[in-house]
Point group: C2
Amino acid sequence: MELDETDRAILRILQEDARTPFSEVARRIDMSSATVHDRVNRMEEAGVIEGYHASVDPKAVGYGVSAFVGLRVEQGREEDALERLREIDGVCEIHLTTGEWDVILKVVAADTDSLRELMFESVAEMEGFSRSQTMIILGTDYEADGPPV
Amino acid sequence: MELDETDRAILRILQEDARTPFSEVARRIDMSSATVHDRVNRMEEAGVIEGYHASVDPKAVGYGVSAFVGLRVEQGREEDALERLREIDGVCEIHLTTGEWDVILKVVAADTDSLRELMFESVAEMEGFSRSQTMIILGTDYEADGPPV
DNA sequence: GTTGAAAAAATATTGAG
DNA sequence: CTCAATATTTTTTCAAC
């Protein structure tokens, strides 16, 4: 789908606050809310807009520790291994990567004890992985609302 | 702030679709929409809900390549270095971590050429960093809407 | 593609249990 | 904390340009 500057302006507003009323989006980009509605619908259908998500503070819901986890997967066990990773509570993202690791996870845990459990009882126990490394997130200095548009 | 099961149920719904009308949230958790409204307000004020964001497909807006970038920061240059990283177009996340890297970035770029530019003209040029490693994301197998609630 | 206007629906607010 | 009722806004639809 081809996006013009109007579409991008709408995206930028909804990236920042997905609950902005279309009527206000319309005011800001100087168009009617019917147009905004129409364009948003088309972008949803085309998959440009994948969804709308409330961002919840992990600490507020009991997760004091976040980490990236690098994993090496044994040849030929990729699909099986990934399937099982997804089931583990606390695993928030699973990325396949080039470089030092085959898989990079983002995980959350209540505390370091829980993280240890997650790593040694869930991940390390699993067959198909060789090496792993846990990189605890000391702080997140910056987090954009999505890709620049 | 203390969260009860009702708050958590509301959070789960809004994590999945932040534009769900409060009236429907109310139906689903079997409460009045005024209650939902009240609880959402309190969770917003308490910072439990950090915001609402439209999730935009990076490919649809011209970013064909995503990557994690690990960086080593020279002693004593941390603040300065982080400040400048934030300015670079395409840098979406900046995390301070333990382990092999001091900083892990998530970046997006139009293509591998752009990524190369980003790394060698923006990041590598910057003083304060020693080693870096780029881990290109071949695919994202799973991405939760946020922490489990 | 865009618009304005009407109808339907949702949100914000208030007052009371 | 919860609700019902109300007033205000917004979403949604549609004929017309």
